[in-house]
Amino acid sequence: MSKVKVTVIDYGMGNIWSVVNALKYLECDVVVSSEPAVIEDSEILILPGVGSFRKAMESLRELRLDEAIIESVQGDENKILGICLGMQLLGSRSSEDGETLGLNLIPASVEEFLVNDVGTNKIPHIGFDQVTSQAEAKLFQGLPESPDFYFVHSFRMLPTGLTGVSATCRYGIEFLAAYEKDNIFSTQFHPEKSQTNGLMLLRNFLAV
């Protein structure tokens, strides 16, 4: 079997090395790119992310990657996995660091965890936490029940009224942990930081 070619979108803010490290472990042929043309033509895209939503969207726009991503996944041939901030960027909007519009590939908005919702839990939500996945979720095939994944975030999306919820997590309130619909996939947690569970999930994404 020839190597699976994966493009990791580089917009200056992701934990690029970690993601590349995991993909190489899975024997992928990894391309790290900030070229719109490369991204438009890539069959498998990963949008990583650590940082603030507003800054990230500004970077994507500046590099004209926002249009390239949308263009790339418009048909059904190419697929994308957004990770952490990368998932949030696929959302419709966020209130982080001022109101900012997202790529709108997931019809959900991004809001900060409310103190009232999380109760005695601390914000940001940091550490390994168990998620509840849907039985048919493609990303979670072969994984144990209530698998642990690594989270680090202060903002979240909610699963309410959303089609494509593949897993949720509870942190005072139930929030969206993973999403999959057609060719759009995303996780609020970091699969590249979640030991074998994460590697397995990445492999599932590549195999879809």
């Binding site: 079997m1 090395w17 800054k55 940001p124 940091i126 550490g127 680090v152 569970n197 492999r203």
Partner: protein
């Protein structure tokens, strides 16, 4: 690779570490790795980043890295070399908005505020910076309170008195914290066995415990410590190390049949 045991003993370089420890396997016993460049004086960030890449190859846990981080660009380099978070120590004390700038660039969750605390002759705690060389004036609780309310995502409290001794954490550090800290607190310095780790985690003010001692100096200590914590009812994720391998070999078998 320096351990912090008894004033920085040099325990071996990266090759030594790779040879003596199957690090990617050991990483299944930890939930996060903290890698610090503790070189005194001039640090070479590029070399450190290269070591970080080598060390974290095949290691799939969150990694916090630091040592002398006082510029946005050095933080960015670490984050591009395997780090998920940057550890800031001396940079916390300068009143120049550096921590805020870091947080606004990479997000607050990306900044770990690391404080070295030592008790002075009169029994009062004080904060030290610059690799423990410079004493920050004023009581430690003043600095802790200030830094907790700055734009750090987590606070890492290290006892310089206990660091490397293996005699257990200094839980007295926790009394220096403001009443209700809304950020995760990591306690470090002094853990020498599983009971110490358990003691630290048993305090409601502690969210995580760190150890360098067990990992560096006691054969299988870390794995055994983790097992013992879980047996004693502390909730930690347990990993099925073979999960992926099993799946891949099953897929290979099926693939062969299909051919």
């Amino acid at each position: 690779m320096l351990s912090r045991n008894f004033r920085l003993q040099n325990v071996g370089d990266l090759e030594w570490l790779k040879k003596n420890y199957d690090f990617s396997h050991i990483s299944y016993s930890i939930d996060e790795l903290v890698v610090l460049d503790v070189t005194r004086g001039e640090k070479n960030l590029e070399d450190f980043c290269d070591s970080l890449k080598l060390l974290t190859d095949g290691c799939f846990v969150p990694i916090a890295a630091g040592g002398g981080v006082n510029q946005i660009e050095s933080a960015r380099m670490l984050l591009r070399s395997g780090a998920d978070k940057v550890v800031v120590n001396s940079g916390l004390y300068a009143n120049n908005g550096f921590v805020k700038e870091l947080a606004s660039e990479f997000g607050q969750q990306c900044v770990v505020g690391s404080m070295d605390i030592k008790s002075s002759a009169d029994g009062q705690y004080q904060a030290w910076s610059e690799n423990g060389m410079k004493c920050e004036s004023g009581p430690a609780n003043y600095w802790i309170e200030r830094i907790v309310s700055d734009s750090v995502g987590e606070i890492y409290l290290n006892s310089m008195d206990r660091d490397g001794t293996g005699q257990g954490f200094d839980l007295g550090l926790l009394d220096l914290l403001p009443d209700r800290v809304s950020k995760p607190v990591i306690l470090a310095g002094g853990a020498g066995n599983a009971n110490h780790l358990s003691e630290g985690l048993g305090d409601s003010r502690v969210d995580a415990v760190a150890t360098a001692n067990l990992f560096n100096f006691v054969g299988n200590g870390l794995m055994e410590a983790r097992k013992s914590l879980v047996t004693n009812g502390i909730v930690l994720p347990m990993w099925d190390v073979q999960l992926l391998e099993r799946h891949l070999s099953a897929a290979r078998v099926n693939g062969d049949k299909a051919d």
